[in-house]
Amino acid sequence: MSGDAVYREHEGDLVVVRRETVATDVVALTLADPAGGTLPAWTPGAHIDVVLDEGLTRQYSLCGALRDRGSFRIGVLRAPDSSGGSRFVHDALKEGSPVRVRGPRNHFALVDAPRYIFVAGGIGITPLLPMIESVQQRGVPWTLAYGGRQRASMAFGDELARHGDRVRVWPQDEDGLLDLPTILGDPRPDTLVYCCGPEPLLAAVESHCAGWPPGALHVERFAPKPAEPAAAGDSPFELVLQRSGITTVVPADQTILEVVEQAGISMLSSCRIGTCGTCEQEVIAGDIDHRDSVLTEEDREAGEYMMICVSRCRSERLVLDL
């Protein structure tokens, strides 16, 4: 019966109903169903895939109001070294343009805590905006340090201004780099740190949070984590799909996802490079070789889930709840 179920994420054909330039090289797009339908609910930290030409997808964090069930808002930076995603958004998407959207999904979920420190670098502010809306509404103490190259390049500063002292905007040309020791302070057991931004910022925050309780730091990356040193050739292993009652082999030159699909099982997947988190699967047994950019160190140690588009298995046998 396994072939008799098709599993997919919500996809919608939306249109750009509003396009605003919100900073140098940053546009905010508001997307809605042309028929005025309700869009799926989501939680702070969620992102959508924007399906561009030729199967190219890009992930953008939702940064609109949580209660607004009629539209999605995303903020997009024109990246100079763009592989086409942000260039397409900036050049081709106008008000009225159709946009195919997949999701939302969330791998940067906001966990309840007594206190939060938010750290944003540049366009990394986007997933933090709904987080701030949520914690502010619930009366939980928080601060935001928002770094960027220069004030004019930093989006949504006007929306954040109403929060007064909780927000420190930190343009590099005026104030230098984010002063992470001061921003983060001493490790506190009651505080979660949420950080989104370019890789150097994430690496610096990860290094400063090394002394914090495991799991206190939550980060979201825009791009795949820099590749870990390439293994000297991958090995084949046996793959058992428990629920479906299928046993097969993953050859050295194929991914688990490819093998599962060849076995006739309908799978959720999107980016296929380990960044979007769509193909996450529950692991029953096996020594997982994690190669994605989604799971945290704690997730990896727990060994309950893996991204089967990139990750592999070091042991001879991998059993998935699939």
Partner: protein, 353 residues
């Protein structure tokens, strides 16, 4: 195990009553293991307080409603709709901080929704919109059913209709009895929905009776369902009678699942249809059909719960048709993990399954 624990997210809208139940009296209800009173203010809005006087803990449902004040039946303390104590008969002033817990309420007839979690967080979401329950063009009736089983068992039951020909023989669309058509599942971050398209075939008896469509014709059908939230499941059945120039005969079963506690769930169910809307006998026939299916499911779910209560939850295996139910578990687990908060979110909770 887990399925018997309080495995329901608090930060979610649940149906506490139907609109006709909330009036100018104090309606006592249990919602997510907490006692609540519901009553209608003079403005027409519905208010909800904890069913306990914060002075000496008599249930406030033993008291009376006077104007918009709830007056305790023990010492006459009076409380406003926000729960604040407004009068202590035995003294001049009201003690600082004397307050009954109040809960956010939203009414969207026929349902009265209540939010049992962080009150401030209720402003970040709205109860699901269910326009067919009050739009003209639809006829709707409903009832309430108590099922002595954890609410997750009800969601699982609603999300896997491969049980249908086995539990409700004679009521299933006829192609179900052979190979069930392909199951199409769609997920979002917070929902799971599915549909199956049945090839054209004759209607089964109850469908022919309640639609008035001829029994000797073949009709394609689509059955679909959605886990909308931990508190709501919606099923739809479409009979495509377009060839008859009438359009689609749509029937929607809306089920609000409200945990009374870990082992019992109240189901507020409503059946809506967009055909023969002015014929009350169709409502009566559909009521009988839905009572029969919901009661048959209730019997099984209560047996599963009772078995687990007596002997503990046993290991279970899953099959491909369980995928929608498993996804709903996952959504609920993530809601529970977020609510457990930091740092306890790190310690694995009583797993949902």
């Amino acid at each position: 195990m887990s399925r018997l624990a309080g495995n329901y997210p608090l930060n979610c809208w649940y149906v506490a009553a139907t609109s006709d139940e909330a009036g100018r009296g104090l309606l006592g209800r249990t919602v997510l293991g907490q006692p609540v009173i519901l009553y209608r203010l003079r403005s027409g809005a519905v208010a909800a307080l904890e069913d306990r006087c914060p002075h000496r803990s008599l249930p406030l449902s033993y008291g009376t409603l006077s104007d918009d004040e709830v007056v305790c039946g023990y010492h006459g303390m009076a409380f406003g709709p926000d729960g604040g104590c407004v009068r202590v008969p035995s003294q001049e002033n009201v003690p600082y901080g004397a307050r009954a817990r109040s809960f956010p309420v939203r009414e969207d007839p026929p349902f009265v929704w209540v939010w049992m979690g962080d009150p401030a967080a209720s402003a970040l979401s709205d109860p699901p919109a269910l326009p067919w329950l009050h739009d003209t063009g639809w006829a709707t009736f409903g009832e309430t059913l108590l099922v002595e089983a954890n609410y997750l068992l009800l969601h699982e039951n609603a999300l896997d209709l491969t049980h249908f020909p086995h539990v409700h023989p004679g009521l299933s669309p006829s192609p179900y009895l052979e190979t069930p058509p392909r199951l199409e599942i769609e997920v979002t971050e917070t929902t799971v929905s599915y549909y199956r398209d049945f090839p054209a075939s004759p209607l089964v008896d109850w469908q022919a009776r309640t639609t008035g469509l001829p029994r000797d014709r073949d009709y394609a059908q689509r059955e679909s369902g959605e886990f909308v939230s931990p508190g709501l499941h919606v099923d739809r059945m479409h009979v495509f009678a377009t060839g008859d120039g009438i359009g689609s005969y749509d029937k929607i079963l809306t089920r609000a699942f409200t945990p009374l506690g870990p082992r019992s769930t109240v189901v507020h169910w409503q059946v809506s249809r967009n055909y023969l809307t002015s014929q009350p006998q169709v409502s009566d026939q559909l009521r009988d059909v839905h009572r029969a299916t919901l009661t048959a499911d209730k019997r099984l779910l209560e047996a599963i719960q009772a078995r687990a209560d007596s002997f503990g939850a046993g290991e279970e295996f899953n099959v491909s048709a369980d995928v929608a139910g498993l996804r709903a578990h996952r959504i609920i687990e993530e809601m529970l993990a977020a609510e457990r908060g930091w740092p306890s979110a790190r310690t694995p909770a009583p797993a949902v399954r």
